[in-house]
Point group: C2
Amino acid sequence: MAVYTEVSDTELSTFVERFNIGSLLSYKGIAEGVENSNYIIQTEQGPFILTLYEKRVNEDDLPFFLDLLDYLSERNITCPTPLKDEAGHALGVLAGRPAAIFTFLAGMWPRKIKPVHCAQLGQALGELHVAGTDFPQKRKNDLGIGDWRALFNKCRDHADDVMPGLGDKLSAELDYLEACWPTNLPKGIIHADAFPDNVFFRDEKCSGLIDFYFACYDIFAYDLAICMNAWCFEKDGDFNVTKARLLLSNYRKVRDFSREEVDALPLIARGAALRFLLTRLYDWVNTPKEALVKPKDPLEYYKILKFHQSIRTAGAYGLE
Amino acid sequence: MAVYTEVSDTELSTFVERFNIGSLLSYKGIAEGVENSNYIIQTEQGPFILTLYEKRVNEDDLPFFLDLLDYLSERNITCPTPLKDEAGHALGVLAGRPAAIFTFLAGMWPRKIKPVHCAQLGQALGELHVAGTDFPQKRKNDLGIGDWRALFNKCRDHADDVMPGLGDKLSAELDYLEACWPTNLPKGIIHADAFPDNVFFRDEKCSGLIDFYFACYDIFAYDLAICMNAWCFEKDGDFNVTKARLLLSNYRKVRDFSREEVDALPLIARGAALRFLLTRLYDWVNTPKEALVKPKDPLEYYKILKFHQSIRTAGAYGLE
């Protein structure tokens, strides 16, 4: 559940008054999400989202995230837009936590991924990358190639409990990626967590992206690779090339790939798989057995990693 | 968290279509509540509440609850009103569970109870009791005087772990209440769970009651006693007679007490305290130590019980 901080009716009413959105009529904690506390609030002007930032988010990063959402909204990217209070500030303090109110985004994330969703996502991701090109702030990727070694070291002793031999395989993969990771690929603002539950649709049209709290300055193709891994593999681990082709071909209609990006895509996709494999492994090893929220299976991403290791060129993704 | 059943976007869209409230724009699980899965849904016509009934609710009771809410709404009691689909049915099936959609009730439950809230609650409870007088269906109270013995027997072996001597004290109280429980008091439809989180306010006016899933046919004064216990004791266990006087005096402006009700109120209040003491004790004893949701302290209700044992007449509640 995603309500870690309880807010009282009186303090929230007072907080909302500063935003010129009418009186507070109702607020309810949202069960989804794990990083922050989110409430859906109703005011005389309709629904809004209230977010209280919990300790897993670095407070120093909040101006980056809020400024980015503001910047993208101005450039017609549909994403939650932070409201500004009378004094022009988006970020306030509520119940002792940093807090912000956002526009409400209509749409639902797709529980069953169809090819059309991947086509729409490709276009939306391309538009996001283009819109963010000149955003002046740069936030380092906290879970980029330079961070994987330390993460691996924290859980390597338990890797073989998940699958015999996994520790050595991950160690070798890490050596390879660190040696070969490209430095010449186009970079910019990436979402870095565009999993299905962060992408909303209405009638099979993408209606917006949410949850930009991993957004950072990194390789564009890495963002695409994260999406390919999250959207184009079936539950049984099979790669669905139809979905991947639609994702990539619709992306390149908005922002075309360089030759280097196409060549590097299988390598980047291995990195994107390793990143989620490692965070899942870390959570797997560090979550108490009795915990209510079960950690996600790291081996799902091991299968994805193996697929990318097995191919030679980006042609396997349906790219020409 | 209160989402036990996950609903897919496509099946919910189809479900909503039958209710003539426009297309589904969004749905989010609500973190509050423990009995059922609740979602706040937004359609083209605004917000609604979707409830999926989980196994803790007896399916045979659902027509009673839905018919009651319908009946009360028609009599101007503000409570969630079940919508009816094209075929005239309020109850449907969604994700394999019984499900219903309700009107959205504006308002917030008070985190800090003021005397004015108790005055408003007294009036609202009186209006509820009067409005329900001729409701033709009768549901037995599943947690009434006849059920406490069995509940106690399930946890008496652990009662002394909570407080030395508690088992004997509860046993004696149960003997006394079973011997003296009155049979001549006015009865009707009672809410039976009107705790602060089930009563909404806007600008210190009661804007409605929710969560009628303990509603039943029982002694009116028992409903008042539950409210007195839940609203008129301070966090330190002190009884706030100002709050109680306002609760009772505003209630009797709508539905006056008989002489027998006034005389019996201290006894009824002991029963209402024991009922919540026993269910909390049961949950305390049966909740694993590692559980995320901590059970409520049974001894809070032991203090309340002792207060009612210590007084002689309802004059102690501010009643004249």
